[in-house]
Amino acid sequence: MKEYVIIGGGAAGVSCVEGIRSRDPEGKITLVSAEPVSNYGRPLISYYLEGKTGLDRMSWRGADFYERMRVDALHGVRAERLDPEARRVTLSGGAELPYDALCVCAGSDPFSPRFEGIETVEKRFSFTTLADALALEQAVDGDTRVLIVGAGFIGLKCAEGLRDRAKSVTVCDLAPRAMSASLDGDSSPILERHLEKCGIRLMLGNTVTRFDGGTALMQSGDTVGFDVLVIAIGVRPNTSLVSDAGGAVGRGITVNEKMETSLPRVWAAGDCTESRELTTGETGVLAILPNASMQGRCAGTNMAGGDAVFDKGIRMNSIGFFGLHIMSAGSCTDPVFTQVTETGCKKLFARDGVLTGFILMGDVSRAGIYTSLIRERTPLDTIDFDAVCREPSLLPFGRAYRAKKLGGAV
């Protein structure tokens, strides 16, 4: 009987279990999670603060998942050391786990540059785990002034989750625009106006130079008084287990399209890895749940002797703030279609005859048709691209395509 070990209980680790079990119903699976709970949707934590979900509904694959999949799940335990020659993982506490196939789904941890005076801040938090959300829930009440450093996805979702709980929420970012990594100069201002209308105070192109207890001294010379600080600047892939064992890592653990690392019998998946992004061909960390899930499943399938490939990783996000839906995908460098209004926008980007990216705000209907064009690298001269730009539907794809997709099993 084959022995599988999975490090991490996020979307990648859980999907790895599913991949293994799709081929091997018998093998012994041990999953090690550093968190006290696993198998929950990490991105749900802001929705939890907002009251849109509850602890009883956050399980990603159901509360009985490990039992159903016959997984021995160890919680609150870290994988400390990997010995690829002896095929053994040493856990915190000293126990050793032998494996025939190992998957590292260790995720990423928040990082922060060193702020002067940060140690004088009494209540400071990150916002990436359920434990963070539960701690913030305790720390914030109707008298609390919250300062969030970072106006990316994590920081702004945190702001949304806390608005109705706190007295005030201020978000600052060194970048001059909100969500600058995925929106552009046309779309960011729409989001910024919306957030401010909804009561979030933004300080963009501005960051904290020094903390002094409950006061942040800003680059602009302003001071911001706060009771609770959230640092949401970014995350860093957890690569050390593999790199300490001599495996190849860049910014993330290096994997190929089968999710194999450079170490024999060791796979990796999810936010701890770096892989080839489809639209640019560049290697990068694609730290989003859908990629983690598909990589994990691919890794698990291959660990159980399958021949799966995942080579369609792109950056994409669907997110809403106070009722404004925003979707972005791919790389947004060469615009071919632009429609901007006061409250919404649609921009499509194409290069070398294929769609490479889009940004939608407001009307996001059937956006997946655009995502599919990116993923499948559909030559745009084979469809009525002008029509699909105006409105995503299956009409511009022609009768033969529809006959195959709507008249057959896909």
Partner: protein, 147 residues
């Protein structure tokens, strides 16, 4: 498994499938009460132009991108049917972002909604197919399924 298939050449563009779908998913027993004077929210959609029409609903893909991408675990595949747990959905619409057919949409309260083959509805099998006057929508097994 049995799926909803579309015979585009037979579609009349009558939109009856949309009304039957909205009724089947309304939980009401009376069609007039369910639909009259309301904006209907069908899970099937007739697309097309003046000449071509056809209906699109969930394909219940064998490798469903929506299930893989769902951040809350609300979407699942049970015996080939892709289902959505309304209470788990937080309305992030990642499913809308990834569905290649545009077959998932936001529902009236923000949670996503999609065709679940009417398996849990009173009609027990897809109302769109049952009510299609020209057999442009059928619910059946097709050979390629085993391929």
């Amino acid at each position: 498994m049995k799926r909803v298939y579309v015979n585009e050449q037979w579609c009349l563009g009558c939109h009856l499938c949309e009304y039957n779908c909205a009724f089947a998913n309304s939980g009401e027993r009376d069609m007039v009460k369910a639909l009259k004077g309301r904006a209907i929210r069908p899970r099937i959609r007739v697309e097309g132009d003046g000449e071509i029409t056809y209906a699109v609903s969930c394909r219940h893909c064998r490798e469903p991108l929506c299930v893989r991408s769902c951040i809350s675990g609300a979407l699942s595949a049970e015996n080939g049917t892709v289902r959505i747990d309304h209470d788990k959905c937080v309305g992030c619409l990642t499913c809308v972002l990834v569905c290649p057919y545009g077959a998932v949409q936001p529902g009236p309260d923000g949670a996503a909604m999609k065709c679940e083959l009417c398996l849990a509805n009173a009609c027990g099998e897809p109302a769109c197919a049952a009510g299609c006057p020209n057999r442009a929508i059928v619910y059946e097994e097709r050979e390629e399924e085993t391929a």
